[in-house]
């Protein structure tokens, strides 16, 4: 197991570095001149431009600029924002709790609702309950997350006068602000995982070993959870990990609609103002998080299914 984890970890390191080069290169290819962004489009003296060039390392070759950026990443320094003239790392870490909270809470909501619903559908295949859940999930899959958010705001504002957007000052407010956006974000997760666990369970319930277990006289619940589910869960985990990737982007949209102070709104702000240190910093961070989640999922696979470990 230890060797397997190490092997997988070593595999993602080159990917991370190539991704960082890609991010850096795409941002450099932009036709917008960073110096005009930094100086806010005002006419500046030669001396001011020269000072900016030194401060942001524009006087160095591109390769050196990249290496300086990478060196900074590993010492927790993401560079300086063009627009705000302050450290990007501080801005990012101040906003991390919202985004991570959103993704974590909605993943939990999604998994807790979707897997039982999927199993229920599989067991009661082709009954009314199954049909209704299937129709609901297909609609939820097809509903853009920002539409869900807007409709939830519309409904909530009609029901109660509660404030559920904007910043937070303490832990209680943090959860209050995050509750509704997390529910909105979890819908697509519920739908997708529900569908996959249904198909996967149906497939497993048809297999020979289930028949054997039934013939042995094992109780139904034990067959369902101990035998079928254990095998059915692998594709569910695969889809869940892909879906968490989609949720990282989904959180950008959710934060935008609910005006939450998270990474997503900072990223969009950075894109709109051509503030590239912010854009490349957040993108790299999100890619890093996504790669780590994928690593965790691979470890989870190996823990559930010993065959994967020895491949």
């Amino acid at each position: 197991m230890g060797r397997y984890v190490l092997k997988r970890f070593l595999q993602i390191i080159p990917i991370f570095f190539v991704v960082s080069i890609v991010i850096f290169a795409i941002v450099r290819m932009s036709p917008t001149d960073p110096i005009t962004v930094i100086l806010g489009g005002k006419k500046a003296t030669e001396a001011a431009i020269a000072a900016v060039k030194v401060k942001f390392h524009f006087d160095q070759p591109v390769v050196v600029q990249y290496l300086l950026w990478m060196k900074g990443i590993f010492t927790g320094d993401f560079g300086i924002s063009y627009k705000y003239q302050q450290a990007v790392s501080g801005m990012i870490f101040g906003r991390l709790p919202v985004t991570m909270g959103l993704i974590a809470i909605s993943s939990v909501i999604g998994i807790v609702i979707a897997i039982p619903a999927g199993i229920l559908c599989a067991v009661r295949k082709n009954t009314a309950a199954d049909r209704v859940i299937s129709v609901v999930t297909i609609i939820l899959v097809s509903c853009p997350v920002f539409l869900t958010c807007m409709l939830m705001i519309l409904v909530m504002s009609k029901i109660s006068g509660a404030v559920f957007t904007g910043t937070y000052t303490n832990v209680r407010e943090y959860f209050q602000r995050l509750a509704i956006p997390s529910v909105a974000l979890s819908f697509s997760m519920i739908a997708l995982i529900g569908r996959v666990s249904r198909t996967s369970m149906i497939k497993e319930l048809k297999s020979n070993y289930i028949e054997t277990a039934e013939a042995k006289g094992l109780p139904g619940r034990r067959i369902l959870f101990h035998h079928a589910f254990k095998n059915a869960v692998i594709p569910v985990i695969t889809v869940a990990s892909i879906q968490i990737g989609a949720m990282i982007v989904g959180s950008v949209l959710v934060e935008n609609v609910f005006s939450l102070p998270g990474l997503g709104s900072l990223l969009i702000n950075g894109i709109n103002t051509s503030d590239y240190p912010i854009v490349q910093g957040i993108t790299l961070l999100l890619v890093g998080v996504f790669l780590l989640i994928n690593l965790l999922v691979d470890i989870l696979y190996a823990a559930i299914d010993p065959r994967i470990r020895y491949e």
Partner: protein, 293 residues
């Protein structure tokens, strides 16, 4: 009644789905004839009206007819979703075929490059692209097309891998056909149906992703409008006329659901394990297998 339908392409849900999709596509093709108003016709006196006989879906904040905007908006939405899928096919299918057919180093190189694209969670690469190359629909389409390449390419690769070991490929090789001919004239036709199923699904996803990009101001730019832009514009006035968001929202959901169902049904038709053959066909197949050999 039910037995009659199995194993046929035109089942009841399929016919309904195709009919509705045809309706949407035709109305977007003939938008000028179908739409009751010009989509940009302002009428400040009738701003933010709820649905009525004159304006079936109501009007927006400057009095434009929502239904007409929806119909004209569908042109950009559908066309750009199609463009995204076409780009991903043009790049992804050949890559997948080459990677699956040759295997070894070439396969490895292609897979590693795609790993880099897959390392970006969903739309993030598209965000980066649009941020750098300009916030307009063209870069959004190209970016999304690239984001979709690995999915299509991996699917094609797995299909090509399966086909490669079959007898007909070996036969073609022993005759001395060139690799290009084997790949594109022999293997590709056997993969097309499965790829088409995936593409149908991808058009739906492309509509969703493009709407998200437009919503964030990174796709279609006003005054041109698609369903995503309509949602973004309607957001400020949702309290006064929910139709502003409900209409484009429902249009998106309906279209994506239809593409989903279409894909599901095609898959069901193509995948013999999911569909039961009617008894007489089964017999015929059995007989054919016994007699012809």
């Amino acid at each position: 009644m039910k037995k009659k339908n199995v194993g046929r392409f035109f089942t009841v849900p399929m016919v309904i789905t195709i009919a509705l999709l045809a309706l949407i596509i035709l109305s977007s093709l003939f938008a000028p004839a179908v739409a009751p108003y010009r989509p940009e016709a302002l009428d400040m006196d009738r701003a933010l009206q709820l649905p009525s006989a004159a304006h079936l879906l109501g009007t927006d904040n400057v009095g434009r007819d929502i239904l007409s905007r929806l119909i004209f908006g569908s042109r950009i939405t559908l066309l750009s979703a199609l463009a995204v899928v076409v780009i991903s096919v043009i790049i992804g299918v050949p890559l997948g075929l080459i990677s699956g057919y040759y295997g070894g180093r070439i396969d490895n190189a292609i897979m590693r490059v795609e790993d880099v694209v897959l390392a970006f969670p969903a739309l993030l690469l598209a965000f980066l692209f649009v941020a750098s190359f300009g916030k307009n629909i063209t870069s959004a389409i190209i970016a999304l097309g690239i984001v979709y390449v690995p999915m299509i390419s991996r699917l094609t690769r797995s299909l090509a891998l399966m086909e490669r070991s079959k007898a007909y490929v070996e036969a073609a090789q022993s005759i001395g056909f060139s690799d290009g001919r084997i790949i594109f004239r022999h293997i590709l036709p056997n993969c097309v149906s499965t790829i088409m199923t995936q593409l149908t699904l991808d058009i739906g996803y492309a509509i969703l992703d493009l709407a998200a990009l437009s919503f964030l101001g990174m796709g279609v730019q006003p005054p041109t409008s698609d369903w995503g832009v309509m949602l973004e514009e309607g957001r400020a006035f949702i309290q006064r006329n929910p139709m502003l968001c409900l209409a484009p929202g429902c249009a998106i959901i309906l279209t994506v659901v239809l593409f989903n169902v279409l894909s599901d049904n095609i898959q069901m038709y193509l995948d013999p394990t999911q569909r039961k053959l009617p008894p007489f066909k089964k017999l015929k197949k059995l007989a054919g297998g016994l007699v012809e050999r």
